[in-house]
């Protein structure tokens, strides 16, 4: 660098315009040398600030949509704005995990407490409303809470980076911004599907199993979870899904535990149908088969299913329908809906291949069952 400056200095004597230009260049090079990270920090700050504004608009919109829904559809008797704002800042404090034995039970306890609280608060806000409206309100408030949290966290790092003038904090945040915005965008888009009660991409599992439950007697086997017993080629099927058309995900883990432990059923296979996140480059609506418990979320239900299946030595089979995160939480795309018939074929084949006549099989449609009854 300084060598260069030296060379530039050698060029000085003699000309007029040359001298000015050279001085300009020396200045320019010195500035870029000493201030490069600062300039880039400044650019990153600008960039993040623009993204942050978009996040703010998004979270405000989600909040407004939730309030509008509570007022217009839910017929909330009082103005819900204040309660909603309290709701948005509600935190769930996860159990400590340094000694993880029994951790899932603790998480389950916290999460259940939280779910009950949400249901109770929304119920109190709405007074007399249909379960569909209550469940949709819950989901809208959850979306608004997530967007609120995203905005807060990004703002935290933005302000921290600005205050400490930390180049690396800012550059990292700038790098993550596109992903964060994309995620937030997906959440905001979900609002449109939820508020009119349209099935979402994640509901493909419930759509498939609802075909097996149609016209059969349903019984509640866990919170928000129903089961029907049907038959396929001599096998007795225990078909599970969350109770639709409410926006529920149910408790398939508790349900399977009940079926196997309490009802004393010895299934020869458990088949789970769920939406799965596709990789970039994979096609929406592609079907993949697999083994293992096909269920997402925080891990409590997955843990319970794996535990009960391992204890009873029941093989776990999975049928997955690939989709992006946006497609999973917004209105079901044609490609996904049309996979339903193919999934039915695969499911029938899996049942035929992996079990014999007279066997018992548990089939679970995993996912948000909004707009999908049974």
């Amino acid at each position: 660098m300084f060598v260069l400056t030296g060379i530039a200095l050698q060029a000085l004597p003699g000309t007029d315009s040359g001298t000015l230009l050279t001085l300009f260049w020396i200045g320019f090079i010195l500035i870029t040398f000493f201030y490069q990270t600062r300039i880039q920090s400044y650019l990153a700050l600008n960039d993040i600030s623009r993204g942050l504004n978009r996040l703010k608009v998004m979270k405000d919109k989600a909040r407004k949509e939730a309030i509008d829904y509570l007022v217009n559809v839910g017929k909330a008797p009082a103005d819900p704005a204040q309660r909603v704002d309290q709701f948005l800042d509600y935190v769930t404090i996860m159990p400590v995990d340094i000694d993880p034995a029994g951790l899932v039970g603790k998480i389950d306890h916290i999460v259940t407490t939280n779910n009950d609280r949400v249901r109770a608060e929304v119920g109190a806000l709405l007074g007399q409303s249909s379960p569909v409206t209550v469940s949709i309100s819950e989901n809208l408030l959850e979306v608004a809470t997530s967007l609120n949290a995203i905005h807060k966290i990004v703002r935290h790092f933005y302000l921290l980076g600005k205050k400490t003038n930390s180049y690396f904090t800012l550059i990292q945040l700038q790098m993550l911004m596109p992903m964060i915005i994309q995620e937030a965008d997906a959440l905001l888009n979900a609002v449109d599907s939820f508020k009119v009660g349209q099935p979402v991409g994640d509901g493909i599992g419930p759509v498939v199993v609802s075909k097996y439950m149609l016209g059969k007697e349903k019984r509640v086997v866990a919170k928000d979870t129903v089961m029907a017993i049907t038959e396929y080629k001599g096998r007795k099927l225990y078909v599970l899904k969350a109770d639709g058309p409410m926006a529920y995900v149910g408790q398939p883990g508790v349900a399977m535990k009940k079926i196997i432990d309490e009802m004393g059923i010895k299934p020869s296979a458990i088949v789970m149908i769920d939406a799965a996140l596709k990789l970039e480059g994979e096609k929406t609506g592609e079907i993949a088969e697999g083994v293992g418990a096909a269920i997402g979320g925080i891990g409590v239900e997955k843990f319970q299913i794996e535990e009960v299946a391992t204890k009873a030595k029941v093989p776990l089979y999975a049928i997955l329908v690939k989709q992006s995160i946006l497609e999973a939480i917004t209105v079901m795309r044609k490609e996904i809906a049309e996979a339903a018939d193919k999934v039915v074929q695969v499911l029938n084949r899996v049942i035929e291949e992996k079990t014999k006549e007279g066997d018992e099989v548990v089939v679970a449609g995993i996912g948000n069952t909004l707009g999908v009854a049974q």
């Binding site: 880039q40 650019l43 990153a44 960039d47 993040i48 623009r50 993204g51 978009r54 700038q174 790098m175 911004m177 596109p178 915005i181 994309q182 965008d185 009119v196 009660g197 349209q198 099935p199 419930p206 759509v207 609802s210 075909k211 149609l214 639709g244 058309p245 917004t330 209105v331 079901m332 795309r333 044609k334 996904i336 809906a337 049309e338 339903a340 707009g371 999908v372 009854a373 049974q374």
Partner: protein, 68 residues
């Protein structure tokens, strides 16, 4: 170091349809989604065999460029 935050999406408009399927003759009718529709809901009478139909699917299609 150019802006890497993507601009608001130019979204393709999604049109949502409800498919009513006749369990007797298998005829499928596609109509626009109406609020309150859900899968397995009772639909209109089948135009072919007059059996009661059921909603079998609800899905979204991107509208054709001509449709915009």
């Amino acid at each position: 170091m150019m802006s890497s935050v993507p601009g608001p999406d130019k979204k393709t408009k999604l049109l949502v349809y409800t498919i009513e399927e006749c369990p007797a003759c298998g005829q499928k009718t596609k109509r626009a989604f109406a609020v309150g529709d859900y899968v397995t809901k009772d639909g209109a009478q089948c135009t072919k065999c007059s059996s009661p139909t059921k909603v079998s699917l609800v899905y979204a299609e991107s509208s054709k460029p001509s449709g915009q």
